[in-house]
Symmetry: C2
Subunit: 345 residues, 2 copies
């Protein structure tokens, strides 16, 4: 596959930036051959790091700026006052066409505000959504929205469904992804007005979407559907509940295994197997939240991640660019809009 | 402790009822000495079971009825047409004072509708809530609402907080329980209007509540607070996400341990430790959702549970009755109403 692409990297975003970012790109060099990077940040901090990681120097160009967005910056303030920040200049590189996508581990609210302002939403999308890949029993699914929109109407949810379906089909490579709406029961009469109306729209959609209907919280782990659609309030809480529960179980397991001699001995013998399990639980594997619905690829890395996690987030941006995700979405959105305007007439 | 109480049992509710129910009571006889039961259901089915479990015969009285609520009954239909059902008669026993509480593993919607209609809400409670005990790293917490109310305003959430706090203090025995509002961030400006307003009310409440502020999904497993307050839509999805994630991790762990010889050997040696872990994960341990805010104790068991899980749900009802939960709540609700009427004047 051809990797003729350039990604803009906010070198200053993240708790351990910029060192974590540059080290992350050194991992990307092997994993994503051919990709080039615009490394946006303070050159006085970046140049010594490029000496430390000479392999990264070959694949990147520094775009110097001293301004940064802090984690305490309110989105509106960042938008107004951080126009020369590493985050904003990295987004601008996508807008100008100098880069095909942008990755940042900085302030989520500021990143969304700036990306929305600079890149604008795709035609047919009222509001962008945050999406992530989640593992389940037999593979993985995509869930959205994860916090960009506290309240969503039926049209928002329908648009999220379209975007999630295109992602699952093209990026996850599923032939006929099943789409589900997260609700508190599978019966049609349950839930709030938005999910009930979205259920009707998706059931009757002229788009070639395999709509499963409502799913519940435990269907996320079961892999009942490939695309889980929800509002940003519920989605954010569900995602963090997954993370917290996973941590709790690992804690209980460690407690049980270290509490007795036989537990310790068994764990020692089963260490390779337990490492496989641990790797599957590693949140760095799933790092990289996608901002979908914008005129440009934008990926948010967890702020507390390390180089491996950051490299994974860069991989997520790469996959979206590589599969021409936004062009594919545009086609489905046009068909959705045509269908709706047909209904209105 | 004195267990001079009578619990009404819907003998016909649950996938494996009535056999599972009677077997469950045989477990209760040892765990909850002194408690008596009104066993409401079809005596032709129940009498042979009491021959099989003679120890249960001594502690229960059959209240005969042939009518049952099915899982397909819509709540409104059940309320209108199932007035002689085992579920309804069991609730009526609480209303008449013949029983101190009721436990059913039947149709949740019907149980809530009937309990609300027959028992009415406590003064100061606009809507009852469903609550459950959840384990975390260092103990357990209570979460509510879990699905009774799809949409909640700030007053509903505040009332849930009061009920959850009384439960945590008296039934869980925590001296100064911390109360948190589930949200998508810890900052004051995040979230929907209901949680933001409830935050203000709880921050300024004259009640002696240790209000922590907002918590996120991962705080459920961390045990950041002892009482997690949320609307029924979010709470139901969060609870089921906990269950689904726990099942997924156990699946991944089994997969890893059975995938190699060393994994199997290690697991064999560590079996007692893994059994401790498994027991901690056992959903039957946490079975028994409490309907809080009614003039009477009402507990819903999972419909698919077995005798051990049902016995646990009976234990939940026992604990609420034993601690005089409703009288304790009434006092705090009166103080809350006094404080509010003081504000209004």
């Amino acid at each position: 596959m051809s990797n003729d692409m350039t990604l803009a990297i906010d070198a200053m975003g993240g708790d351990a930036a910029p060192a974590m970012v540059v080290e992350g790109l050194s991992i990307c060099k092997t994993k994503l051959p051919g990709v080039r990077y615009l490394l946006v940040g303070d050159e006085r901090q970046l140049e010594p790091l490029l000496i430390q990681y000479p392999q990264v120097k070959d694949i990147c160009t520094i775009v110097h700026t001293e301004e940064v967005v802090t984690n305490d910056d309110k989105p509106a303030v960042a938008l107004r006052n951080r126009r020369n920040s590493s985050m904003r200049l990295a987004i601008n590189a996508v807008k100008s066409g100098d880069a095909d996508g942008i990755v940042s581990a900085g302030n989520t609210g500021a990143l969304m505000a700036m990306a929305k302002f600079a890149l604008r939403t795709l035609p047919g999308i009222d509001r962008p959504a945050i999406a992530t890949y989640l593992p389940h029993r037999t593979g993985g699914s995509v869930m959205l929205d994860l916090g960009a929109n506290v309240e969503c109407d039926a049209d928002n949810l329908t648009q999220f469904a379209v975007m999630g379906e295109v992602y699952a089909r093209n990026v996850l490579g599923l032939e006929k992804p099943k789409v589900g709406l997260l609700n508190i029961g599978e019966e049609d009469l349950k839930g709030n007005d938005s999910v009930k109306q979205a259920h009707t729209i998706l059931r009757d959609t002229p788009l070639d979407i395999d709509f499963y209907g409502f799913v519940e919280g435990d269907d996320i782990g079961k892999g009942t559907v490939d695309v889980i659609v929800t509002d940003g309030f519920t989605g954010n809480i569900a995602l963090k509940t997954v993370e917290g529960t996973a941590q709790l179980l690992v804690h209980f397991l460690k407690d049980a295994l270290t509490g007795s001699f036989l537990g310790k001995l068994g764990a020692f013998i089963a260490k390779p197997a337990l490492m496989t399990f641990k790797k599957k639980m590693d949140p760095r594997q799933y790092n990289g939240a996608m901002f979908l619905g914008l005129n440009g690829i934008c990926v948010k890395s967890h702020g507390g991640t390390d180089a491996l996690g950051f490299a994974n987030a860069v991989g997520v941006a790469h996959d979206l660019v590589h599969h021409g995700f936004n062009d594919l979405i545009k086609k489905d959105l046009e068909r959705l809009m045509d269908a709706h305007s047909g209904e209105d007439s």
